[in-house]
């Protein structure tokens, strides 16, 4: 990726302001989307990438209005299809930093297929899924991440469908970078977004996002500042899984299950699972992803970060190989390929 410049080769230091567009932000006051926008605008100038090389692609939903507010190239697509649009952009111009912004309905319901395949292919795009566990823009129907039994406008007696866990899905697709953060945990969110930005390959980031209109407080039981130390665990590469206000609790791997243990009484840090985001197979990451409140602390951080050749890189490498082996195509020769004959 080329670094920040003004086209004349001099490096220009960008600031948050450079990424703020002239469009009025139209989310409800108090919506979690604001916090994500702010962190994104804070992180991008740090990357050393010129502004014109960023493209934000989205689907449909409140969250998908995001590109309008970023002063970069932007494409507000159609419902669920942003990963496909982004794939076309990235394959054709691998030099761009291509981001997808999607919601839980957009990415996991109507666009589930595209999300799966973009992750499986390891297209070098960054996907940020704003998970508010509800359909915001269409005013409050349940979504594929709504908890079982949730009462909404379209489920007055409660839903009868189990939710999907986005992180599990990303890991099943063997996305090369999988992470989670929370809208209000600004520093952590900035950290995760920057990690995603610097990852080469597909990056999938789930952000717990509060919809204060239709699903207010969905994450409060564990993500609220007063309880999060006890009810969430921050994954850090190479470090044991410890949580709790006094860092007195940990996660231990017992056979094929994870268990919450309290340190002391013969249990030491050495007994705890040490997080390895670089582990090639995603099995342990999958166990971690399945941890949920109240049985377990809810994990945030980078579940997985491995390097693999990217789709766009491989596609373009084949083009180069073909040109090297056969020479650049000649239309004249192409038309005359196969059996030809001459009429005089």
């Amino acid at each position: 990726m080329t670094h920040g410049g003004d086209g004349q080769g001099t490096v220009v230091k960008l600031t948050k302001k450079d990424f703020v567009s002239d469009q009025e932000v139209r989310w409800c006051p108090g919506c979690g989307d604001y916090a994500i926008l702010a962190q994104m605008q804070k992180v991008l100038p740090e990357l050393g990438i010129p502004r014109e090389k960023f493209v934000f692609v989205s689907g449909i939903g409140c969250s998908s209005r995001f590109p309008y507010y970023m002063n970069t190239y932007g494409f507000h697509g159609i419902h669920g299809r942003a990963p496909a649009i982004a794939t076309g952009i990235k394959v054709c111009n691998p030099d761009l930093s291509v981001w997808v912004v999607t919601g839980d309905g957009d990415g996991l319901s109507i666009g589930g297929n595209h999300l799966l395949h973009a992750m499986r292919r390891n297209v070098d795009i960054k996907i940020v899924l704003f998970n508010n566990r509800i359909y915001g823009l269409t005013k409050g129907q349940y979504s594929p991440t709504s908890e079982f039994g949730k009462k909404t406008k379209s489920s007055p007696m409660g839903t009868v469908e189990p939710p999907v866990n986005p992180i599990c899905l990303a890991l099943a697709a063997e996305a090369t970078f999988v992470a989670r953060s929370v809208d209000r945990h600004t520093d952590h969110l900035a950290y995760v977004l920057e990690r995603a930005a610097r990852h080469k390959g597909v990056a999938f980031v789930e952000v717990f996002q509060n919809c204060n209109i239709f699903n207010d407080g969905a994450f409060e039981p564990f993500a609220d500042r007063s309880v999060k130390e006890d009810r969430m665990v921050v994954l850090e590469h190479g470090k044991p899984l410890i949580f709790g206000k006094n860092r007195e609790k940990g996660i231990r791997l017992n056979g094929t299950t994870l268990e919450v243990v309290t340190l002391g009484d013969g249990i030491t840090e050495a007994d705890l699972l040490v997080h390895d985001e670089k582990r090639p197979d995603p099995a342990i990451a999958f166990l971690l992803a399945r941890m949920d409140y109240p049985e377990y602390p809810v994990p945030v951080g980078v579940f997985r970060a491995v390097e693999k050749p990217t789709y766009d890189e491989l596609v373009n490498a084949q083009i180069e190989t073909a040109i090297a082996e056969r020479g650049p195509g000649s239309l004249e020769k192409l038309l005359r390929s196969g059996d030809i004959w001459v009429i005089e």
Binding site: P83, G329, L331, G338, W341, V342
Partner: protein, 622 residues
């Protein structure tokens, strides 16, 4: 075929068989889909092209890869019409039917005219196979074929005996019988074996035993004809008197793929082709995937929606974005086509139409998607629509589609169909210089840049691609404010934008060729066609013109917008006949647009028109 094959002259040949000269012949190969019928037909076509005949082909095969052997639905056929004259279709009916089994005979016999020649593989006429084909008695013995010239040939045993020296399992040897039959047909029509022998050598390079077996079978079939008592004559069809030049044989799908590559070369921008496999469009993807040294990126998407969206992404990034599919895939693409309409990005969408609705008949042709192409999206959604008239025309219309798409910043739908896609004809290669230039101008100047500030002449908005400093902007499916491209819900602005999008497409009419009337500019009957019916319509009209009847025709290769002189031509005729492989979609448009009494002439059998069908229908109007 325009006329029945006619005997011109008879000359003595050096061998003991006489050679009879014919002007036009139609041969149909038919057998099990596992018999290699399509290959046999294709190889015969290649040779026929090389000896300089004009030709047209019609492959007709079941959707199932290997339908149950010996059954009626499992029959695969390949028809070729070749001539020393200029021809435009694969022939109405076969003069010669090569039937590899009873089912093939049963399915195709009704198409054979009285006196037609049948070459059958008698070895396949076992009691078991007869029963499978639904015969209660053996047609080769019960006299039911008395009206035809039947040649009972032991193709399987002859093949096995020709290959007895070759060390291969009997099953593999038996599979060479299509080459044996091909050899015999080559003898019958006095064609050289060399092109096929060369093909065999190349194709089976890694398997010399199979190569040898096929080559031996081919030669043996030829020798059989030469030696057999049963044939008293064989035939010659002279080189066609066609325009001088360099020729190759081409199918519509091949031509389309080459046209997309040519467009990319002419535009100096790489091609990105996204597609999800579907009959009969997949061959375009296969063909393009080979030509990576032209910078062609192919993307086998997870579905047609993704294919269309990825092509849009490619166009946004400054590539020539294209996608190809057939009817069911068109349905899936429609929402994304509208996104291209709203974002005003150049994408070419190739719809290789097939019989529907729904999955319909995947391998059978139809022109049922015309109205879908024009109107099959929510709201006012104008797109340019073009339709090639012949297999080779797919090349030119693919270039034309991209010329229009990039000049006007619009999606363009190209309507081909199964008949064009798989049918072959000789193609006189164009010189590169005579192809249109495609001028691409990306916006780079930030001064006065607005994403929806239009070119005053074409109404195209600027193409500003990501990576260009100072042009950062956002586009999307929400309504745009005129000029700025900002999201706008203003009522008046919306109406203005709806009209601007329509006007932009309408203005393309200034930039496409006028229609040329085939025949007199006024008269009694005007036949109006579009797309793949060109050959049959033109031949039928020519038939009446030769008889002095006041019949003319026009053929639409541009369906949106229509050529601007269409409205002037229509009223000059008393009757307007519109033959279409649908229930009258173009007729509906002509009636709606021009208030003329267009008479639909429909055929929806998954098959193209016969010339004779159109001749007869015109006759009723005269």
């Amino acid at each position: 075929m325009r006329e029945r094959a006619s005997t011109l002259t008879t000359v003595e040949s050096e061998v003991r068989h006489q050679i009879v000269e014919l002007e036009t012949v139609t041969v149909r190969f038919a057998g099990d889909s596992g018999d290699g019928i399509q290959l046999t037909g294709t190889l015969f076509t290649n040779t026929t092209a090389l000896v300089g005949n004009d030709l047209g082909t019609f492959p007709d095969y079941p959707a199932e890869i290997r339908a149950p052997a010996g059954t009626l639905p499992g029959v695969s056929a390949y028809q070729i019409c070749f001539s020393s004259q200029d021809i435009r279709t694969p022939g109405d009916q076969p003069d010669v039917l090569v039937a590899f089994n009873p089912a093939a005979l049963k399915v195709h016999l009704p198409d054979l005219p009285e006196g037609g020649m049948i070459l059958v593989n008698v070895d396949a006429f076992t009691e078991y196979n007869l029963k499978k084909a639904g015969y209660t008695s053996n047609p080769l013995e019960d006299g039911s074929l008395a009206k035809y010239r039947v040649y009972k040939i032991p193709m399987t045993t002859a093949t096995l005996s020709a290959l007895r020296e070759i060390d291969l399992p009997a099953k593999d040897k038996e599979r060479c019988k299509n080459f044996w039959a091909l050899g015999l047909v080559y003898w019958l029509f006095d064609r050289p074996l060399e092109p096929t022998l060369r093909w065999i050598e190349e194709r089976f390079k890694k398997n010399p035993a199979i190569a040898q077996a096929n080559a031996t079978a081919l030669r043996a079939g030829y020798a059989y004809g030469d030696a057999a008592e049963m044939f008293t004559v064989h035939y010659r069809v002279r080189r066609a008197q066609i325009a001088p030049g360099v020729y190759r044989k081409i199918t519509g799908n091949e031509a389309l793929a080459l046209g997309l590559i040519a467009a990319s070369q002419l535009a100096g921008r790489p091609l990105f082709y996204a597609s999800y496999p579907i009959t009969p469009a997949s061959d375009i993807l296969h063909e393009l995937a080979v030509h990576k040294n032209f910078g062609v990126r192919t993307f086998q998407a997870e579905d047609e929606i993704a294919a269309m969206c990825a092509a849009i992404g490619a166009a946004f990034a400054g590539y020539l974005g294209a996608t190809g599919t057939s009817g069911p895939g068109m349905c899936l693409k429609s929402e994304a086509i509208n996104l291209a309409v709203m974002t005003e990005l150049p994408v070419v969408i190739c719809d290789i139409q097939r019989a529907g609705p729904s999955t319909g008949m995947p391998t059978k042709t139809e022109q049922g998607d015309l109205l879908q192409a024009l109107f099959g999206r929510n709201s006012e959604s104008p797109v340019a629509v073009v339709a090639p008239a012949t297999p080779a025309d797919c090349f030119y219309m693919a270039i034309e589609a991209f010329r229009i798409a990039t000049k006007y910043m619009t999606p363009v739908i190209l309507l081909s169909d199964g008949y064009l896609a798989n049918g072959a004809e000789p193609w006189k290669l164009p010189s590169i210089e005579e192809l249109p230039k495609i001028e691409i101008r990306f916006r780079t100047d930030p001064n006065g840049f607005y994403p929806y500030l239009r070119d005053p002449e074409t109404l195209a908005r600027p193409w500003a691609i990501p990576g260009t400093p100072g042009l950062e902007h956002r586009i999307g499916g929400l309504e745009k404010q005129h000029i700025t491209g900002n999201v706008s819900y203003d009522p008046k602005n919306h109406e203005l934008m709806v009209k601007l999008r329509a006007e932009k497409i309408a203005r393309i009419a200034e930039d496409i060729p006028l229609l040329e009337v085939f025949g007199e500019p006024e008269g009694k009957v005007l036949v109006v066609g579009w797309g793949s019916t060109y050959g049959a319509i033109t031949s039928a009209v020519e038939h009446w013109q030769r008889k002095g009847a006041p019949v003319s025709s026009i053929h639409l290769r541009y369906l949106n917008p229509f050529p601007r002189n269409l409205g002037e031509i229509l009223p000059r005729f008393e009757k307007i006949l519109v033959p279409e492989l649908n229930l009258g979609q173009l007729a509906l448009l002509l009636r709606g647009r021009f208030l003329v009494d267009a008479i639909p002439f429909s055929k929806v059998q998954g098959r193209p028109f016969k010339i004779s069908e159109i001749i007869d229908r015109i006759g009723e109007l005269l």
